[in-house]
Amino acid sequence: MERQSNQEEVNMKRTVFLGALALSGLVAGAAAAATLDDVKARGKVNCGVTTGLVGFAAPDANGKWEGFDVAICRAVAAAIFGDQEKVEFVPTTGQTRFTALASGEVDLLARNTTNTFSRDVDLKFEFMPTNYYDGQGFMIPKALGVTSAKDLDGATVCIQTGTTTELNLADFFRANNISYEPVPIETNAEAQQQYLAGACDVYTTDASGLAATRATFENPGDHVILPEIISKEPLAPLVRHGDNDWGDLVRWTVYALIAAEEYGVTSENVKEMAASAGSNPEINRLLGTEGDLGAMLGLGKDWAVNAIAANGNYGEIFEANIGESTPIGLARGLNAQWTDGGLMYSPPFR
């Protein structure tokens, strides 16, 4: 008798599973419909981020995600819902990120992902405007006295797996006809530990990552970043092929952040400027005081205002998360506005 009840209990547990299945079916809905409709019905944007990279995405003590990539997700959520908290962050690894996007688990992947031909064409994704122009660099202890990456013959190199980094590295050393020993590591935190203990001579990843990593060392001055940047790594958010409306929305949200910096619209003054039409028609169109660009995206008039108000314009996001005032201390460099000699250039809002 007692065994029988146990059996029943076990059977009942199986239903929880059925129930959960039904429930998540209700919540997730079908991926085939238009993404924006899905997002609106769900009331949240699902945004894929890294499981943790200093300055780009990491949860704080309260579980609130913060970082440069995170701010892009928040801006998109704010543009759609007027509320930057209406976003759900899905941590993805280098291995699982593309599947998560392809399968519809996330609507948008903002995970310092390099824009490449094969990812765009073969893996069937659509890259948004580059939000960070990066390149692969090398960090090495000062004590080794190396000044150029060409002197690295025979060096042991720590790399993160599942990235374009390992391919760039192979190409670089092959092109220069020098040998190296790769040590593949799964996460940035582990790679850092290996590098500091001297298990590898060189640590290579995107230059931004190197700077971010170096900033947290006990003695940052003991390490140098070599001048060679061996690859182009335009890091950009990406969405699935085939839903151009959604792609447009994300693309122009990123552009809005970039344009806002160019025109001097900040999180401080955006509400004020949006209150009434100003003298610059471009700003007026951006902030919805003239024309209705938002409606063309299927959003409200104040979509860009909300996106900018969430975490500020591109420059503000940069400064707050990875800029020179933060421990990471990255200079704008290529990521300055085109007016300052950088590559950040938004097409006109008209």
Binding site: Q7, N11, T51
Partner: protein, 438 residues
């Protein structure tokens, strides 16, 4: 004898000497040490080597622990405190990271004002599992065990209270259908009805009923998404759900493997061997990368559920082997006795064989659970934030970048406490079963 002595000897002691203490080398700690530690050359060497090993470990770890810093906001601050108090070169643990982030390690991103829900869920779980594990408790308590899964689901995920109620109703329908039909229409029809009716109910009625009830009486807790689960809560949920859901499938597979029906046997053996032959990590990658390929286009549900499905299939194969061991351990006379009573296959299994076989399988099932609980750490590789995944996330914040051992020691200790106590229980159970068999 004493009489003769009394006449021949000049002096006879009349009272016994009081017992004197054994020589110092033969008593107390020294004797114990001689017998236990230094009884021979080999033993002496072994003892000395062991003591040296212990010394090396302790002398390295002790200062690190003794200097540990418990209150700081970041690793940099930890280092400043260390430099100020014990000097820059001294080893010092920075356990401040645990103080700062222990809630995250335990509960993941579960909303902080709702921590009482997982805690209560743990209490409910322990109360529900107790009557199954300890036979001395009243059998009526098993009804609570049967209801517990629905309660646990409701507590953890929240949402409308009517969803679990409506799902549970399906089982009631099945049971009632069986009871009503078994007398009039025979076992076969009754069993069929008990399977088909609830299925129909779940497919067509449960959804609308839930919606209607929720509209009429919106009772419930705030819904918490699977993505917010993390840390030990996540490990525990995956482990418990995996074992509990896999039991029925595991028992069926074990019976299938023992079956005389060739095709059934082949299917069971094939399933068990394929699942057991491939590492869990490959199955988890399958869950994360491939499961969407195998389901109808457009189906999409969250990663945690996909992992639970995969873990359920995985542990079902292991449970099947444990139960098969239990079935094989029963004397043949039990099977023959059940047959001679005229019971059919399912009756003999249900009433005679399985109750005994499952009872002796419980230690094995607990061990399988310990293994599965430890293996849940592998979900870190597909991006779920279990305790180890969270250590990565914590180290990615600017405050704690560079912290290493403290987090791993904490996680290891928590796992040790949980697994060790479960292992002790399983050992106790094995001993008890052995006594009963004698």
């Amino acid at each position: 004898m004493s009489d003769t002595h009394a006449q021949t000897a000049a002096y006879v002691r009349e009272s016994m000497i009081g017992q004197s203490a054994p020589p110092t080398g033969q008593s107390g700690a020294i004797r114990w040490m001689r017998e236990n530690l230094f009884s021979g050359v080999t033993n002496t060497i072994l003892t000395l080597v062991s003591i040296y090993v212990i010394w090396v470990i302790v002398s390295h770890l002790f200062p690190w622990f003794a200097n540990s810093i418990w209150r700081a906001d970041s690793l940099t601050q930890c280092r400043e405190i260390r430099d100020a108090t014990v000097g820059a070169d001294a080893p010092a643990a920075c356990f401040a990271v645990i103080v700062d982030r222990w809630q995250q390690l335990v509960f993941g991103f579960y909303p902080q004002d709702k921590y009482w829900r997982p805690v209560l869920a743990l209490v409910v779980f322990l109360a529900a599992i107790a009557p199954i594990l300890f036979q001395s408790l009243p059998r009526k308590a098993l009804w609570f065990s049967a209801a517990a899964p629905f309660l646990l689901f409701f507590l953890l995920w929240g949402g409308s209270v009517w969803l679990p109620v409506c799902v549970a109703l399906g089982f009631v329908i099945g049971a009632v259908a069986y009871r009503l039909l078994v007398a009039s229409a025979g076992t076969l029809t009754a069993t069929l009805a008990a399977i088909v009716l609830p299925l129909l109910y779940w497919l067509f009625l449960a959804g609308p009923l839930d919606a209607a009830l929720t509209a009429v009486a919106p009772v419930g807790l705030e819904y918490v998404q699977s993505k917010d689960f993390g840390g030990f809560t996540l490990s525990f949920i995956i482990g418990v759900a995996g074992i509990a859901l896999s039991l029925p499938l595991g028992i069926l597979l074990a019976l299938g493997r023992q079956s005389h029906l060739f095709i059934i046997k082949m299917i069971s053996v094939g399933f068990i061997e394929v699942i057991r032959g491939v590492p869990l990590i490959v199955w988890l990658f399958t869950a994360s990368l491939l499961l969407n390929y195998f389901l109808p286009p457009g189906t999409n549900f969250d990663l945690m559920l996909r992992v639970i499905i995969m873990v359920t299939l995985f542990s079902a194969a292991y449970i099947a082997e444990v139960v098969r061991g239990g079935l094989a351990a029963l004397p043949k006379g039990q099977y023959e006795g059940a047959d001679s009573l005229g019971l059919d296959y399912w009756q003999s299994m249900r009433l005679v064989i399985l109750p005994q076989a499952l009872k002796i399988s419980i230690p094995g099932i607990v061990n399988t659970f310990i293994g599965l609980f430890k293996d849940t750490t592998l979900v870190v590789f597909i991006g779920l934030l279990d305790p180890i995944g969270l250590t990565n996330a914590i180290r990615a914040s600017t405050d704690w970048n560079g912290v290493y051992w403290e987090l791993f020691i904490f996680v290891g200790l928590m796992f040790f406490i949980a697994c060790f106590s479960m292992g002790r229980y399983s050992l106790f159970l094995e001993k008890k079963l052995q006594r009963e068999h004698r």
